[in-house]
Protein backbone atom coordinates (compact mmCIF):
# COMPACT_ATOMS: atom_id res chain seq x y z
CA UNK A 1 0.00 0.00 0.00
CA UNK A 2 1.36 3.38 -0.90
CA UNK A 3 1.46 6.17 1.60
CA UNK A 4 1.22 9.73 0.40
CA UNK A 5 1.66 12.95 2.32
CA UNK A 6 -0.27 15.91 1.00
CA UNK A 7 1.11 19.39 1.15
CA UNK A 8 -1.86 21.20 2.59
CA UNK A 9 -0.39 24.34 4.04
CA UNK A 10 -1.69 27.20 1.93
CA UNK A 11 -0.78 29.79 4.51
CA UNK A 12 2.95 29.28 4.39
CA UNK A 13 4.00 32.90 4.16
CA UNK A 14 6.28 34.08 1.44
CA UNK A 15 9.09 35.71 3.37
CA UNK A 16 11.44 38.49 2.38
CA UNK A 17 15.09 38.36 3.41
CA UNK A 18 15.77 39.42 7.00
CA UNK A 19 15.96 43.07 7.85
CA UNK A 20 16.86 42.50 11.49
CA UNK A 21 18.93 39.67 12.75
CA UNK A 22 20.45 38.55 16.02
CA UNK A 23 23.21 36.00 16.44
CA UNK A 24 23.98 34.48 19.86
CA UNK A 25 22.70 37.71 21.36
CA UNK A 26 22.83 37.81 25.15
CA UNK A 27 21.80 40.61 27.45
CA UNK A 28 22.92 41.16 31.02
CA UNK A 29 21.50 43.52 33.60
CA UNK A 30 24.46 43.66 35.96
CA UNK A 31 25.15 40.02 36.89
CA UNK A 32 21.70 38.86 35.86
CA UNK A 33 21.49 37.34 32.41
CA UNK A 34 18.15 38.34 30.85
CA UNK A 35 18.68 36.77 27.41
CA UNK A 36 20.88 33.91 26.31
CA UNK A 37 22.20 33.26 22.82
CA UNK A 38 19.22 34.42 20.83
CA UNK A 39 19.64 33.83 17.09
CA UNK A 40 16.67 34.94 15.05
CA UNK A 41 15.98 36.47 11.64
CA UNK A 42 13.23 39.07 11.34
CA UNK A 43 12.11 39.27 7.70
CA UNK A 44 11.40 42.55 6.02
CA UNK A 45 7.81 43.69 5.53
CA UNK A 46 6.29 41.00 7.69
CA UNK A 47 4.89 40.83 11.19
CA UNK A 48 6.92 38.80 13.64
CA UNK A 49 5.32 38.09 16.99
CA UNK A 50 7.27 37.27 20.10
CA UNK A 51 5.34 35.28 22.66
CA UNK A 52 6.23 33.68 25.95
CA UNK A 53 5.49 33.76 29.66
CA UNK A 54 6.10 36.87 31.74
CA UNK A 55 9.71 37.55 32.46
CA UNK A 56 11.08 35.49 29.56
CA UNK A 57 12.82 38.48 28.02
CA UNK A 58 10.44 39.32 25.15
CA UNK A 59 10.53 43.06 25.72
CA UNK A 60 14.24 43.03 26.51
CA UNK A 61 14.83 41.30 23.18
CA UNK A 62 12.69 43.84 21.33
CA UNK A 63 14.64 46.70 22.89
CA UNK A 64 17.94 45.27 21.67
CA UNK A 65 17.13 46.49 18.18
CA UNK A 66 16.88 50.17 19.00
CA UNK A 67 19.22 50.05 21.98
CA UNK A 68 16.53 51.06 24.41
CA UNK A 69 18.18 48.79 26.98
CA UNK A 70 21.13 51.21 26.96
CA UNK A 71 18.96 53.53 29.03
CA UNK A 72 19.05 51.04 31.91
CA UNK A 73 22.31 51.33 33.88
CA UNK A 74 24.79 48.45 33.91
CA UNK A 75 23.43 46.59 30.87
CA UNK A 76 25.73 44.62 28.63
CA UNK A 77 25.06 43.00 25.27
CA UNK A 78 27.13 40.20 23.77
CA UNK A 79 26.73 38.50 20.42
CA UNK A 80 25.55 40.35 17.37
CA UNK A 81 22.42 42.41 16.69
CA UNK A 82 22.03 43.68 13.14
CA UNK A 83 19.92 46.04 11.13
CA UNK A 84 20.44 45.52 7.39
CA UNK A 85 23.58 43.52 8.08
CA UNK A 86 25.24 46.19 10.22
CA UNK A 87 25.77 45.74 13.93
CA UNK A 88 23.74 48.24 15.93
CA UNK A 89 26.15 47.96 18.88
CA UNK A 90 29.23 49.40 17.15
CA UNK A 91 30.89 52.35 18.86
CA UNK A 92 30.15 54.73 15.98
CA UNK A 93 26.43 53.98 15.70
CA UNK A 94 24.32 57.13 16.04
CA UNK A 95 21.68 55.94 18.49
CA UNK A 96 19.29 58.82 17.69
CA UNK A 97 19.44 57.98 13.99
CA UNK A 98 18.99 54.29 14.85
CA UNK A 99 15.83 55.00 16.85
CA UNK A 100 14.51 57.07 13.95
CA UNK A 101 14.84 54.02 11.71
CA UNK A 102 13.65 51.62 14.38
CA UNK A 103 10.57 53.19 15.93
CA UNK A 104 8.75 51.92 18.96
CA UNK A 105 5.18 51.77 20.23
CA UNK A 106 4.69 51.08 23.92
CA UNK A 107 2.25 49.22 26.09
CA UNK A 108 0.35 52.24 27.34
CA UNK A 109 -0.51 54.93 24.82
CA UNK A 110 1.77 57.82 25.73
CA UNK A 111 0.89 60.93 23.72
CA UNK A 112 2.81 64.04 24.64
CA UNK A 113 0.74 66.66 26.51
CA UNK A 114 0.32 68.71 23.37
CA UNK A 115 -1.98 68.90 20.37
CA UNK A 116 -2.59 66.02 18.01
CA UNK A 117 -0.75 67.92 15.29
CA UNK A 118 2.23 68.67 17.51
CA UNK A 119 2.43 65.08 18.70
CA UNK A 120 2.97 63.91 15.13
CA UNK A 121 5.10 66.90 14.06
CA UNK A 122 7.35 66.53 17.10
CA UNK A 123 9.71 63.94 15.60
CA UNK A 124 10.18 65.52 12.16
CA UNK A 125 10.69 68.90 13.82
CA UNK A 126 13.37 67.47 16.08
CA UNK A 127 15.03 65.92 13.04
CA UNK A 128 15.15 69.29 11.33
CA UNK A 129 11.98 69.80 9.31
CA UNK A 130 10.96 73.43 9.81
CA UNK A 131 8.73 74.20 6.85
CA UNK A 132 5.12 74.51 8.06
CA UNK A 133 3.60 73.13 4.83
CA UNK A 134 5.95 70.18 4.78
CA UNK A 135 5.16 69.42 8.42
CA UNK A 136 1.43 69.59 7.70
CA UNK A 137 1.88 67.15 4.84
CA UNK A 138 3.86 64.75 7.05
CA UNK A 139 1.21 64.98 9.80
CA UNK A 140 -1.63 64.24 7.39
CA UNK A 141 0.21 61.38 5.71
CA UNK A 142 1.19 59.82 9.03
CA UNK A 143 -2.31 60.13 10.50
CA UNK A 144 -3.77 58.63 7.34
CA UNK A 145 -1.31 55.72 7.50
CA UNK A 146 -2.26 55.20 11.14
CA UNK A 147 -5.97 55.14 10.13
CA UNK A 148 -6.69 58.08 12.41
CA UNK A 149 -7.00 60.99 9.96
CA UNK A 150 -10.74 60.80 9.39
CA UNK A 151 -11.41 60.82 13.12
CA UNK A 152 -9.17 63.79 14.01
CA UNK A 153 -8.83 65.94 10.90
CA UNK A 154 -11.21 68.56 12.32
CA UNK A 155 -9.56 68.73 15.71
CA UNK A 156 -5.86 68.58 15.01
CA UNK A 157 -5.19 71.30 17.54
CA UNK A 158 -6.96 69.65 20.40
CA UNK A 159 -4.91 67.80 22.98
CA UNK A 160 -3.82 64.28 22.08
CA UNK A 161 -4.72 63.26 25.62
CA UNK A 162 -8.40 63.94 24.90
CA UNK A 163 -8.56 60.99 22.48
CA UNK A 164 -9.80 57.51 23.45
CA UNK A 165 -7.20 54.88 24.36
CA UNK A 166 -7.35 53.22 20.95
CA UNK A 167 -7.07 56.57 19.18
CA UNK A 168 -4.15 57.55 21.42
CA UNK A 169 -2.35 54.37 20.49
CA UNK A 170 -2.90 55.07 16.78
CA UNK A 171 -1.62 58.61 17.41
CA UNK A 172 1.52 57.09 18.88
CA UNK A 173 1.85 54.90 15.78
CA UNK A 174 1.43 58.03 13.60
CA UNK A 175 4.16 59.68 15.65
CA UNK A 176 6.50 56.79 14.88
CA UNK A 177 5.58 56.84 11.18
CA UNK A 178 6.20 60.58 10.91
CA UNK A 179 9.97 60.16 11.15
CA UNK A 180 10.01 57.61 8.31
CA UNK A 181 11.17 54.43 10.06
CA UNK A 182 12.00 51.10 8.44
CA UNK A 183 11.10 49.02 11.45
CA UNK A 184 8.33 49.35 14.03
CA UNK A 185 8.77 47.64 17.38
CA UNK A 186 5.53 47.16 19.28
CA UNK A 187 5.69 46.23 22.94
CA UNK A 188 2.27 44.93 24.00
CA UNK A 189 0.59 47.71 22.00
CA UNK A 190 -2.94 46.52 22.75
CA UNK A 191 -2.76 45.40 26.35
CA UNK A 192 -4.41 48.63 27.55
CA UNK A 193 -7.06 48.65 24.82
CA UNK A 194 -10.55 47.22 24.54
CA UNK A 195 -11.19 44.33 22.09
CA UNK A 196 -12.48 46.50 19.25
CA UNK A 197 -9.62 48.99 19.51
CA UNK A 198 -7.30 45.97 19.62
CA UNK A 199 -8.69 44.60 16.35
CA UNK A 200 -8.28 48.03 14.73
CA UNK A 201 -4.61 48.11 15.71
CA UNK A 202 -4.20 44.59 14.31
CA UNK A 203 -5.80 45.65 11.02
CA UNK A 204 -3.50 48.63 10.94
CA UNK A 205 -0.46 46.44 11.56
CA UNK A 206 -1.47 44.31 8.61
CA UNK A 207 -1.70 47.34 6.31
CA UNK A 208 1.59 48.77 7.61
CA UNK A 209 3.38 45.46 7.13
CA UNK A 210 3.28 46.04 3.37
CA UNK A 211 5.76 48.87 3.94
CA UNK A 212 7.38 48.27 7.29
CA UNK A 213 9.06 45.48 9.19
CA UNK A 214 7.10 44.93 12.37
CA UNK A 215 7.90 43.05 15.55
CA UNK A 216 5.20 42.73 18.16
CA UNK A 217 5.63 41.45 21.68
CA UNK A 218 2.37 40.12 23.00
CA UNK A 219 1.04 38.24 25.99
CA UNK A 220 -2.04 37.48 24.00
CA UNK A 221 -1.48 34.28 22.06
CA UNK A 222 -4.65 34.74 20.06
CA UNK A 223 -3.34 38.09 18.95
CA UNK A 224 -0.09 36.52 17.77
CA UNK A 225 -2.09 33.83 15.99
CA UNK A 226 -4.38 36.37 14.31
CA UNK A 227 -1.98 39.10 13.43
CA UNK A 228 1.49 37.75 12.73
CA UNK A 229 3.29 35.97 9.89
CA UNK A 230 6.00 34.51 12.05
CA UNK A 231 6.06 33.65 15.71
CA UNK A 232 9.01 33.24 18.03
CA UNK A 233 8.46 31.55 21.38
CA UNK A 234 10.69 32.59 24.29
CA UNK A 235 10.99 30.93 27.66
CA UNK A 236 12.90 31.36 30.86
CA UNK A 237 15.47 28.75 31.81
CA UNK A 238 16.15 27.72 35.39
CA UNK A 239 18.53 30.66 35.95
CA UNK A 240 15.74 32.94 34.65
CA UNK A 241 17.61 33.80 31.44
CA UNK A 242 15.32 34.08 28.41
CA UNK A 243 15.98 31.71 25.52
CA UNK A 244 14.40 31.25 22.11
CA UNK A 245 12.67 27.87 22.11
CA UNK A 246 11.30 27.86 18.59
CA UNK A 247 10.38 30.17 15.76
CA UNK A 248 8.55 29.59 12.52
CA UNK A 249 5.48 30.46 10.47
CA UNK A 250 2.69 31.43 12.85
CA UNK A 251 0.36 28.84 11.35
CA UNK A 252 2.80 26.08 12.24
CA UNK A 253 3.55 27.32 15.75
CA UNK A 254 -0.15 27.23 16.59
CA UNK A 255 -1.12 24.02 14.81
CA UNK A 256 1.95 21.84 14.90
CA UNK A 257 4.90 23.21 16.86
CA UNK A 258 8.11 21.21 16.79
CA UNK A 259 9.01 21.63 20.46
CA UNK A 260 7.07 20.12 23.32
CA UNK A 261 7.62 23.27 25.39
CA UNK A 262 5.96 25.36 22.68
CA UNK A 263 3.08 22.89 22.49
CA UNK A 264 2.61 23.05 26.25
CA UNK A 265 2.63 26.84 26.23
CA UNK A 266 0.26 27.42 23.30
CA UNK A 267 -2.19 24.82 24.59
CA UNK A 268 -2.12 26.49 28.01
CA UNK A 269 -0.50 23.63 29.91
CA UNK A 270 1.83 26.08 31.57
CA UNK A 271 2.17 29.77 31.43
Amino acid sequence: MNSQTFNVDPRQPHLNPPRLRSRQASLFYGKFQALRDISLDIPEKAITAIIGPSGCGKSSYLRLFNRMNDLIPDTRVTGRVELDGNSVYEQDVDVVALRKRVGMVFQRPNPFPMSIFENVAFGPRRHGTKDRKELAAIVERSLRQAALWEEVKDKLHQSGLALSGGQQQRLCIARVLAVGPDVILMDEPCSALDPVATLRIEDLMRVLSAQYTIIIVTHNMQQAARASDLTAFFMMESDRAGVLVESGPTYEIFTNPREKRTEDYVTGRFG
Binding site: T5, F254, G271
Partner: protein
Protein backbone atom coordinates in the same frame (compact mmCIF):
# COMPACT_ATOMS: atom_id res chain seq x y z
CA UNK B 1 -1.38 23.04 39.90
CA UNK B 2 -2.57 22.23 36.43
CA UNK B 3 -3.85 25.30 34.66
CA UNK B 4 -6.97 25.13 32.49
CA UNK B 5 -8.02 21.97 34.32
CA UNK B 6 -11.66 22.43 33.30
CA UNK B 7 -10.74 22.77 29.64
CA UNK B 8 -8.55 19.69 29.69
CA UNK B 9 -11.29 17.73 31.41
CA UNK B 10 -13.71 18.66 28.63
CA UNK B 11 -11.14 17.68 26.02
CA UNK B 12 -10.78 14.27 27.68
CA UNK B 13 -14.56 13.91 27.84
CA UNK B 14 -14.77 14.34 24.08
CA UNK B 15 -12.27 11.53 23.62
CA UNK B 16 -14.16 9.31 26.06
CA UNK B 17 -17.38 10.04 24.18
CA UNK B 18 -15.71 8.97 20.94
CA UNK B 19 -14.76 5.65 22.53
CA UNK B 20 -18.38 5.18 23.57
CA UNK B 21 -19.61 6.05 20.10
CA UNK B 22 -17.03 3.73 18.50
CA UNK B 23 -18.28 0.92 20.66
CA UNK B 24 -21.91 1.68 19.74
CA UNK B 25 -21.09 1.47 16.02
CA UNK B 26 -19.01 -1.66 16.49
CA UNK B 27 -21.81 -3.40 18.39
CA UNK B 28 -24.36 -2.37 15.76
CA UNK B 29 -22.28 -3.99 13.01
CA UNK B 30 -21.74 -7.24 14.93
CA UNK B 31 -25.38 -7.40 15.99
CA UNK B 32 -26.66 -6.77 12.47
CA UNK B 33 -24.60 -9.68 11.12
CA UNK B 34 -25.73 -11.83 14.04
CA UNK B 35 -29.34 -10.93 13.20
CA UNK B 36 -28.64 -12.01 9.62
CA UNK B 37 -27.25 -15.34 10.81
CA UNK B 38 -30.16 -15.89 13.19
CA UNK B 39 -32.85 -14.51 10.83
CA UNK B 40 -33.87 -12.42 13.81
CA UNK B 41 -36.29 -9.82 12.42
CA UNK B 42 -37.11 -8.41 15.86
CA UNK B 43 -33.45 -7.76 16.51
CA UNK B 44 -33.05 -6.23 13.03
CA UNK B 45 -35.90 -3.81 13.75
CA UNK B 46 -34.30 -2.88 17.04
CA UNK B 47 -30.94 -2.17 15.34
CA UNK B 48 -32.70 0.07 12.81
CA UNK B 49 -34.50 1.96 15.59
CA UNK B 50 -31.33 2.29 17.65
CA UNK B 51 -29.33 3.87 14.86
CA UNK B 52 -30.83 7.16 15.95
CA UNK B 53 -28.91 6.84 19.24
CA UNK B 54 -25.63 6.73 17.31
CA UNK B 55 -26.68 9.79 15.33
CA UNK B 56 -27.59 11.59 18.55
CA UNK B 57 -24.25 10.73 20.09
CA UNK B 58 -22.55 12.19 17.05
CA UNK B 59 -24.37 15.52 17.36
CA UNK B 60 -23.73 15.60 21.08
CA UNK B 61 -19.96 15.23 20.50
CA UNK B 62 -20.02 17.71 17.63
CA UNK B 63 -21.69 20.24 19.89
CA UNK B 64 -19.03 19.76 22.55
CA UNK B 65 -16.26 20.24 19.97
CA UNK B 66 -17.81 23.43 18.61
CA UNK B 67 -18.22 24.78 22.14
CA UNK B 68 -14.58 24.16 22.97
CA UNK B 69 -13.43 25.80 19.74
CA UNK B 70 -15.67 28.81 20.32
CA UNK B 71 -14.81 29.37 23.96
CA UNK B 72 -11.35 27.95 24.63
CA UNK B 73 -9.25 28.72 21.53
CA UNK B 74 -7.66 25.27 21.39
CA UNK B 75 -4.21 25.28 19.85
CA UNK B 76 -1.66 22.87 18.39
CA UNK B 77 -2.18 19.23 19.44
CA UNK B 78 -5.46 20.05 21.20
CA UNK B 79 -6.79 21.74 18.07
CA UNK B 80 -5.82 18.74 15.95
CA UNK B 81 -7.56 16.35 18.35
CA UNK B 82 -10.78 18.36 18.16
CA UNK B 83 -10.66 18.65 14.38
CA UNK B 84 -10.00 14.91 14.15
CA UNK B 85 -12.82 14.23 16.58
CA UNK B 86 -15.19 16.04 14.24
CA UNK B 87 -14.10 13.85 11.32
CA UNK B 88 -14.01 10.62 13.28
CA UNK B 89 -17.58 10.99 14.56
CA UNK B 90 -18.75 11.40 10.97
CA UNK B 91 -17.04 8.14 10.05
CA UNK B 92 -18.48 6.36 13.09
CA UNK B 93 -21.93 7.64 12.29
CA UNK B 94 -21.63 6.25 8.75
CA UNK B 95 -20.48 2.90 10.12
CA UNK B 96 -23.67 2.91 12.21
CA UNK B 97 -25.61 3.54 8.99
CA UNK B 98 -24.00 0.51 7.37
CA UNK B 99 -25.16 -1.61 10.32
CA UNK B 100 -28.64 -0.17 9.88
CA UNK B 101 -28.39 -1.00 6.16
CA UNK B 102 -27.52 -4.60 6.94
CA UNK B 103 -30.46 -4.81 9.38
CA UNK B 104 -32.77 -3.56 6.61
CA UNK B 105 -31.46 -6.27 4.29
CA UNK B 106 -32.23 -8.80 7.06
CA UNK B 107 -35.85 -7.58 6.96
CA UNK B 108 -35.92 -7.86 3.16
CA UNK B 109 -34.63 -11.41 3.30
CA UNK B 110 -37.35 -12.20 5.84
CA UNK B 111 -37.97 -15.90 6.02
CA UNK B 112 -36.57 -16.85 2.61
CA UNK B 113 -34.65 -20.13 2.85
CA UNK B 114 -30.92 -19.57 3.41
CA UNK B 115 -28.80 -19.72 0.28
CA UNK B 116 -25.78 -21.16 2.08
CA UNK B 117 -24.26 -21.16 5.53
CA UNK B 118 -22.68 -17.77 6.24
CA UNK B 119 -18.93 -18.01 6.71
CA UNK B 120 -17.04 -15.20 5.07
CA UNK B 121 -19.58 -12.46 5.85
CA UNK B 122 -19.28 -12.98 9.63
CA UNK B 123 -15.51 -13.10 9.11
CA UNK B 124 -15.67 -9.72 7.38
CA UNK B 125 -17.74 -8.35 10.26
CA UNK B 126 -15.31 -9.70 12.86
CA UNK B 127 -12.31 -8.35 11.03
CA UNK B 128 -13.88 -4.96 10.41
CA UNK B 129 -15.11 -4.55 13.97
CA UNK B 130 -11.73 -5.53 15.38
CA UNK B 131 -10.11 -2.90 13.15
CA UNK B 132 -12.61 -0.36 14.45
CA UNK B 133 -11.97 -1.20 18.09
CA UNK B 134 -8.20 -1.02 17.62
CA UNK B 135 -8.47 2.29 15.72
CA UNK B 136 -10.26 3.77 18.73
CA UNK B 137 -7.43 2.61 20.98
CA UNK B 138 -4.90 4.10 18.52
CA UNK B 139 -6.74 7.43 18.69
CA UNK B 140 -6.68 7.51 22.48
CA UNK B 141 -3.07 6.30 22.68
CA UNK B 142 -1.85 8.61 19.89
CA UNK B 143 -0.40 5.52 18.22
CA UNK B 144 0.60 6.33 14.64
CA UNK B 145 2.19 2.96 13.93
CA UNK B 146 -0.91 1.08 15.07
CA UNK B 147 -3.15 3.37 13.00
CA UNK B 148 -1.12 2.71 9.86
CA UNK B 149 -1.09 -1.02 10.49
CA UNK B 150 -4.86 -1.13 11.01
CA UNK B 151 -5.48 0.86 7.85
CA UNK B 152 -3.31 -1.58 5.88
CA UNK B 153 -5.53 -4.44 7.08
CA UNK B 154 -8.35 -3.06 4.96
CA UNK B 155 -6.79 -5.21 2.22
CA UNK B 156 -7.86 -8.31 4.16
CA UNK B 157 -11.48 -7.12 4.23
CA UNK B 158 -11.30 -6.36 0.51
CA UNK B 159 -9.97 -9.87 -0.12
CA UNK B 160 -12.85 -11.40 1.85
CA UNK B 161 -15.27 -9.27 -0.13
CA UNK B 162 -13.78 -10.59 -3.38
CA UNK B 163 -14.21 -14.12 -2.11
CA UNK B 164 -17.84 -13.56 -1.09
CA UNK B 165 -18.56 -11.94 -4.45
CA UNK B 166 -16.97 -14.76 -6.47
CA UNK B 167 -18.72 -17.45 -4.50
CA UNK B 168 -22.14 -15.83 -4.80
CA UNK B 169 -21.55 -15.26 -8.50
CA UNK B 170 -21.06 -18.99 -8.91
CA UNK B 171 -24.37 -19.64 -7.18
CA UNK B 172 -26.15 -17.18 -9.45
CA UNK B 173 -24.63 -18.65 -12.59
CA UNK B 174 -25.57 -22.17 -11.59
CA UNK B 175 -29.11 -21.30 -10.61
CA UNK B 176 -30.64 -17.97 -11.65
CA UNK B 177 -33.39 -18.46 -9.04
CA UNK B 178 -30.78 -17.60 -6.41
CA UNK B 179 -30.05 -14.16 -7.92
CA UNK B 180 -32.24 -12.19 -5.53
CA UNK B 181 -30.98 -13.89 -2.42
CA UNK B 182 -27.34 -13.79 -3.55
CA UNK B 183 -27.57 -10.11 -4.46
CA UNK B 184 -28.82 -9.31 -0.98
CA UNK B 185 -25.84 -11.06 0.56
CA UNK B 186 -23.53 -9.13 -1.76
CA UNK B 187 -25.14 -5.95 -0.45
CA UNK B 188 -24.38 -7.05 3.10
CA UNK B 189 -20.76 -7.74 2.19
CA UNK B 190 -20.58 -4.42 0.42
CA UNK B 191 -21.78 -2.61 3.55
CA UNK B 192 -19.06 -4.32 5.57
CA UNK B 193 -16.44 -3.51 2.99
CA UNK B 194 -17.44 0.18 3.08
CA UNK B 195 -17.46 0.18 6.88
CA UNK B 196 -13.86 -1.04 6.87
CA UNK B 197 -12.96 1.80 4.48
CA UNK B 198 -14.39 4.20 7.04
CA UNK B 199 -12.08 2.72 9.63
CA UNK B 200 -9.11 3.51 7.39
CA UNK B 201 -10.35 7.11 7.28
CA UNK B 202 -10.40 7.12 11.07
CA UNK B 203 -6.82 5.84 11.03
CA UNK B 204 -5.74 8.68 8.73
CA UNK B 205 -7.21 11.15 11.20
CA UNK B 206 -5.37 9.47 14.04
CA UNK B 207 -2.11 9.93 12.13
CA UNK B 208 -2.93 13.61 11.55
CA UNK B 209 -3.88 14.20 15.16
CA UNK B 210 -0.41 13.06 16.20
CA UNK B 211 1.86 14.22 13.39
CA UNK B 212 -0.01 17.17 11.91
CA UNK B 213 0.55 15.59 8.47
CA UNK B 214 -2.33 14.72 6.16
CA UNK B 215 -1.46 11.27 4.98
CA UNK B 216 -3.50 8.90 2.88
CA UNK B 217 -2.77 5.45 4.18
CA UNK B 218 -3.54 3.80 0.86
CA UNK B 219 -6.50 3.73 -1.43
CA UNK B 220 -9.01 0.96 -0.90
CA UNK B 221 -9.41 -1.50 -3.74
CA UNK B 222 -13.09 -0.56 -3.89
Amino acid sequence: MEIRAGYHKRLREIQDDILVMGSMSEKAILQSVQALKDRNLVEAKRIIADDVKINQKRFEIEEKCVQLIATQQPMAGDLRIIVCALYIITELERIGDYAEGIAKIVLMIGDEPPLKPLIDIPRMADKMSLMLRRSMAAFINRDVEAAKKIAAEDDDVDALYDQVFRELLTFMMEDPRTITRATRLIWVAHNLERAADRVTNVCERVVFSVTGKMEETGASKY
